[in-house]
Symmetry: D3
Subunit: 237 residues, 6 copies
């Protein structure tokens, strides 16, 4: 234990920098698919992260939690350092589906105005969490309870469902999944996302009037360039 | 590239034969479980194919799409050759969960009267797709977007979630899963399915009045033949 | 076949002991997460067991069924020996996702007052089962139908989704999962669960008024004992 | 903690009954496939349990260990109560792949004459374990180390990879997997297994001389009874 | 049963066409990776199909087997219609890992000169199969035995691990996986494969002498065209 | 495309800092389990990363590669900037098992003295790679070949199998898995690891002479503190 202490410290960092709330809100309105596209198709958490509520949609700065599997002591510590609007991002040091969060902590989070929870493990009391409108994205639902006796860290960089999340990075989550945007790039990504939304609205109107997508963006030329052949009838193949 | 071209052609086949619309509609009303049973318990896609909308139910001739993973150029090409009522069936050359279809293409498909999408990969914009009532069965929900630059084929035979689907084969999909019926057998399978529905209605009435299922179809005799012993009390075991 | 018969008997046991109905009902009201915690965080079935209906909640004594994969003859035999309020617990001798139960057997179970089904395999007709309010927890949804020709047993101890279930043990199931309580411990576990509910109500009120969870139960002291350091600002890390 | 103590005790049971060593040895020589068949095709652990060494083959009475995931304190406690020839069977209260056993404990087990390890979790130091000829069957290989601070039990019934294992039950393990035989049925199962071996030797000789397996055991008649049709040429289908 | 018989027949087809043995042998020598590339990167079975022996390498015409899960009657029927050099390709109507093939059938196959087995399910007696040099690619190793009582078909088209295999198609299998080549394209694919081998030998010699792969085939130009920037030092990023 | 370019750049960074070679070599000799323990049980890649060769053992500074799935253009670019002794660490922007590396690139890597490959995707030509003694840890073996046309980056921070790897971080890999050590902590971690090795040698000698592990490190006291009860005979439980 002592020997390990030399190279690895468990810490709780109280204050972190966060992007401007307007940027965060704007990214949240753009949604996961648009934001993820806007930053070059990176930053999407693995698709096994699924929402507990089918239509929830949030955005907020990340407060990160690194826990041992099956122990939620550090989530309790993290809640204290959250500000209104933050999103808890919880990971474990090895894979686990134990239910590390339920309606008790949910009640506290709602009281404090925490925006939601992203957890690369399990949650429980899913009916209660939905009733109190606390949005959660998780790997599993499991009633398996936790101990509260093992050390971890709050507000250190973590890997959640395959993506690096640093404290203060923007989390956008909706029914399509969860995306992380680096806090120093948030404004720039948002600018691209807003432009993308305008383009999508334009294309959507075209599609609603029957314009074929193959006729937009040079796709027919691409097919020809790739040598894809058109054949009139299946008998000719 | 050239060397491969000798043995493998990427094609888009415009015209395919389709079963009679009455047969297709009738199979759709019978539903997946009944149709699958009617054709000898074959043709069911793997159960990882799940509906995005919890009660959607469709049937239609397949327009098949073979894509490279993470690229949806060929879906755009396929939409053009669909007729009203067709079902898009999309597969990739190696496994992928990327979101190859969203509300933009969904809008176009609704405009054109395409009946639905079966995709052995991911979709996104799931809230939007449900709002516009476009039915989708998929392996995953993922916001991970696609390129539009790689060749593939439309209306060639494909393997989707473990089953062979040829263009024009009937796809039946509902909350129980997805089933494919060969187009040349569709009428015959439908005849069996309709007979099966009458038998099921009869049995259901018996069950609703308390007749035990073990008393129907020779099951008691089967138990005896198999040597299954009845024991009165658990202490006697 | 004969050689195996010497060491292994397939049986149907008609009568089993069951815990007092008041205990069962009380455990059901406490719910899976509380009961599982009350008996020392054991007895929870693997989290891949998911409810077909999103808010169903049941409790009842188990009638167990051991089947060959892809054959549901023994479920038919088991229904006959169920009493009103029992819960069917079905397992297979090797892994399977085939749809072993649908709306036909569902109709019969509802008629007989069977409380629900826990099945470590697949079910089908999920829309019908929800419409008739028959609660099911399953590993998969699959239309793949079954034969009715292979031997198995009813009311022998089985392993379901990783937990031992003996006939008459109490099954508690809700959206958080499925938990089993040994019938001889049911009353004692219920006493602890009721006490736990009172404690949870008390804590929930505290959380709703903004008391931090880190301030309850000696958690701050634990953090200190574990050597977790507090750091004011991320720059200081 | 106190509340749970009322219904759940963590114990180490020192002395257990074991089947006769000759029976155990004989079952081990018969091997997993034969023994599993001999007892009616039950008792096989899930096939995700794989040997670390490709040709190891063991049999012995089980000493069972119930641990919290990521903690191996109870394995240390269990080793003390093992007798020469016993097999350690380790499970965790929720799923884990952490490496709970390595060359240090392997060295101790070899010194004490413990026959091998069956662990529904991970192991590490796999090169060292193979060099010292300590046979292991595990769900995973992982260097992820363990704490030694959480309570559990030794020699209580456990569920390992889907099968119930009670202390003293016979574990047979070889490259085909792991099988458990109830200690009170061990002798009877062994008798059937030995008879099965004689039958297999007879059949193997027939096959080696070219007798077709379809001509043995009434299989041709079964095909006819099932209505399977023979067709001379693929063109006729 | 009768009703299903109208639309679905179980058959054993005795005679199938096969490609020329020289083509088959030549494809086998080229190996899976080269052949798969030669036919346009299609035809590869899913990578969960793994060899039992670490260096086995085979090629041969497919004799296909469609079985119910957990029953190997049809494998017995298929062996009779195999010719020397054929490869058995076995699939089940729903997913299973049961051990459908072991050293008894292996002995018969070796006696008859069957080239190997590709099975989208489990095998057992893996030590014995390796000792007799019978090559197997499978999804799982499992001692779980089978019944021999359920109908299926031999030499009908099947889907194996995600790819369509028709009787007589060429199966190529080595430690990299399993590939299928349509029998009518076998000669043409082989021509491309042989050319590919010559190209690979040439490139390999270049690499062995230190030529960088980035300098071959226009890759540097591609990087530039894609806008990938070179940066001298990590501090400049 | 242009819009994305504003927020996301694909780069190849030529020069990175690396830890001292003596530290790297020393960490490699300590091995994955010891090093992972020495830095506080963090930094282990997910256990699905398995070695192609059963006894390979390497250590080296990471050169990281971020690729699109199914395209290996960037691996070719990365090889050029590797120094002798480096370890290639390859990840894809969404999950893939395609075989992105084979004996051609392996030949080049051996010629250049690259120490090995860690790839969160597939590899092929596994026999050839083993014959040329090029060590590989991968998620899958697959012959599925790649395109060489999509942009990515070299020597940017990546997430590989659940852990953050930055260019120059030390990769240690052996049959127990793969571990990453931050380059600025490498020396310190190595000091702890060497001390740990001495402690392990001491404990191993004790175990070889029969000292029980339960008698070391205060474990008996821990059991008593946890309230684990000792019971003499199973009948007393």
């Amino acid at each position: 234990m002592q020997r390990e202490a030399k190279v690895f410290r468990n810490v709780v960092i109280r204050n972190i920098s966060r992007p401007h709330p307007d940027t965060v809100r704007s990214l949240g309105e753009a949604g996961v698919a648009t934001v993820h596209g806007a930053q070059g198709r990176i930053g999407l958490l693995r698709p096994y992260m699924r929402p507990i509520h089918p239509t929830a949609k949030i955005a907020g700065p990340a407060v990160t939690v690194l826990s041992r599997p099956g122990d939620n002591l550090m989530i309790n510590a993290a809640i204290e350092v959250c500000k209104k609007g933050d999103v808890l991002v919880v990971v474990t040091t090895s894979e686990s589906t134990d239910g590390m969060f339920g309606d008790m902590l949910g009640t506290l989070c709602v009281t404090l105005g925490i925006a939601g929870l992203i957890i690369d493990a399990g949650v429980r009391d899913v009916v209660g969490l939905n009733e109190m409108n606390f949005p959660v994205w998780a790997k599993a639902v499991s009633a398996q309870g936790c101990s509260k006796v093992l050390a971890g860290s709050v507000n250190v960089p973590v890997v959640c469902a395959g993506e690096l999340v640093r404290p203060g990075d923007v989390i956008i989550a909706d029914p399509d999944g969860v995306c992380v945007v680096g806090k120093e790039k948030a404004r720039e990504v948002n600018d691209v996302a807003q432009e993308k939304l305008r383009q999508e609205a334009h294309d959507r109107a075209l599609y609603a009037s029957g314009t074929l997508s193959i006729d937009l963006g040079g796709k027919r030329e691409k097919l020809a360039e790739l040598g894809v052949e058109y054949i009139e009838d299946e008998e000719d193949y």
